[in-house]
């Protein structure tokens, strides 16, 4: 590259601003709405199963695949299913409800819009770590192909859930014969490769990474579950002192089990948890209330939300 090329720079301030502004995938659903997310962020959703983690991912995916005139982002979503529990019927039902709501007053063709959106949702399941690594290693080509075929880029990379093979990886004690520079398939090496591959992908394809993580080590969670419920009850009563409640919430702990290389890769972390509290909505259905709290950056405020037929909704 010549000196002039270096001085000229890559883009003007105006170009950069327009790029950055469009690349800011703002998510209006709980628990994301508190922070403006950027592509390149790695968001981790932590919580004991079941706590609506996959539902949150589904709704974020719907926000991404819906076209702009329906309130979406109009981009592709990659969904890597490591839990192998994804239910496409649920996603399509949520999407149909959303389209129905968005088109209520217009005479647009719902079915065509539905098909168009579903094509933007790209899904793969992995039954073991090696399949996951093979997927990540060949993802660049897949992304290029999709970008050419559909003319739009991928905005979200979702992983559900990142710790799915934790115990298998941890127990793998394959001894490597041969040279010293041969890497063993250990927990650390696997996640070092995962992080490295995603980092390389993000350079070429700017995306927001959202990974869910089940809390699989539960002893402290069990001991603290009661505290959360008590906290919420005080939270729900009108005269409660919010400050004293939020202090107590900090006592809620979960045990981290991911290798440090993954932990330092995560830029934002949200803790989610189901509570004992139910609120009644229409049709006499009781919906259980879920709680979410930002752990990174640490914010002491607890959001509560419910899941219904259309998706995830904030309750105040």
């Amino acid at each position: 590259m010549g000196v002039r090329g270096w001085i000229d720079g890559d883009e003007s301030g105006r170009e950069m601003l327009s790029r950055v502004l469009t690349e800011r995938p703002y998510l209006h659903l709980p628990p994301f709405q508190k922070f403006p997310l950027r592509v390149g962020n790695v968001v981790e959703l932590v919580g004991p199963s079941p706590c609506a983690k996959t539902h949150i991912l589904m709704q974020a995916a719907i926000d991404c695949i819906l076209p702009k005139h329906c309130g979406g982002l109009g981009h592709l979503v990659l969904f890597i299913d490591l839990d192998c529990r994804f239910d496409i019927l649920r996603l399509s039902q949520m999407l149909r409800n959303r389209i129905f709501q968005a088109n209520e007053n217009k005479s647009n063709d719902d079915e065509e819009l539905f098909l168009e959106c579903m094509k933007r949702f790209l899904y793969i399941r992995c039954y073991d770590t090696l399949e996951f690594l093979a997927t990540l290693k060949t993802l660049h080509y897949k992304l290029q192909k999709e970008r050419q075929a559909q003319g739009i880029s991928v905005n979200f990379l979702m992983i559900d859930s990142i710790g799915a093979f934790h115990w298998i990886d941890r127990a793998s004690t394959s001894l490597r014969l041969g040279f010293d520079n041969r890497k063993a398939l250990s927990l650390h090496n696997v996640y070092a490769t995962v992080v490295q591959e995603i980092k390389k992908l993000l350079l070429l394809h700017p995306m927001l990474v959202i990974a869910s993580k089940a809390t699989i080590l539960g002893s402290r969670y069990a001991a603290n579950a009661g505290k959360w419920d008590r906290n919420l009850r005080t939270l729900c009563s009108p005269n409660s002192a919010v400050s004293s409640v939020t202090k107590k919430v900090h006592q809620f702990m979960y045990r981290e089990y991911m290798p440090s290389i993954w932990q330092s890769f995560v830029t934002l972390r949200i803790l989610i948890q189901a509570s004992d509290v139910h609120i009644s909505t229409d049709k006499n259905h009781n919906k259980s209330v879920y709680l979410s709290q930002w752990l990174m950056p640490p914010v002491s405020f607890v959001d509560s939300f419910i899941v219904n037929d259309v998706g995830v909704f904030c309750v105040s």
């Binding site: 019927l89 790209l122 039954y127 897949k142 115990w167 040279f179 089940a214 699989i216």
Partner: protein
Amino acid sequence: MAPLKSLEARYPLLDSNFQSFCASNGIFTVEDFLLHDLSVLTAFAEQQPNSDRLKEGITQLLSIIDRQHQPWLNGLQLLEDARQNKHVLSTGFEEIDKLLGGGVREGQLTELVGPSSSGKTQLCLRVAANVAIQHVGRVIFMDTGNSFSPRRIEHFIHQISDSVLSEKVMSNILCYSTFDIFSMFDVLQQLENSLKSQGPKGDCKVQMLIVDSISSLITHVLGGSGPQGHALMTAAGFLLKKLAHEHNIAVLVTNHMVAGEGGTLKPALGESWKSIPHVRLLLSRDPGNKISNISILKHPSLASGEVARFVIDD
């Protein structure tokens, strides 16, 4: 995974020269290749005299690993697979079917938890009989505690329908006695192999796989400080989910309950197992009468907490 040497016959680009280049970077198998940073490897290849051929070899290896993951599908393809292949199997109890939106779904792992003598095995036997009759499918029943009773099945068959030949239905319910997790892996792997070789046009399709109870196989291997027990449990869960999805089988497993925090009962097998099944149902029986309650603890599309009441006739 395959050593590079074994791939040479099929892929001439991976010749001895390429192999020795990979070996100098610590790559002997496709698995090693998966853990390696490819940009580093390509940079090394560029310093070699025959760099073009080496880089072609790397691209060849990449296309090999591209076939080692499941195919990418878009939402429409997934939806079509779910609609065409993942049927809902009626349990034979109107109340349970109503609760679950039709019954248990093929492709999913459904877990039935309940305290002892809450009727888990009876429900499994009854569902097995119903699937064998109504859906004319094969049912595989893995019995871990000698609780499988052909007589009980026969009784249920007569209860469900007078007109069917019970022998024909009985021959579609295959029982395997498994007393440890390793023999379960054996049976499941044999099943996977036979389903693969048989293809979708088998004479009688396996529609349901029941493991009663999975917890009695797993609790033995859990415990201790090592991760091996949990690794076996997770591997069993993934094998069951793979069978369920790839061969459109409804998998039903039972789990017992243990004392948890403050003496209340909770499902066994702990937090790590909790994230494995698609559906978790809690079974309990009212004291003093024959009415059983079944409630949803976890479901991919239904709210938890809903309850159905039903009776298993004697």
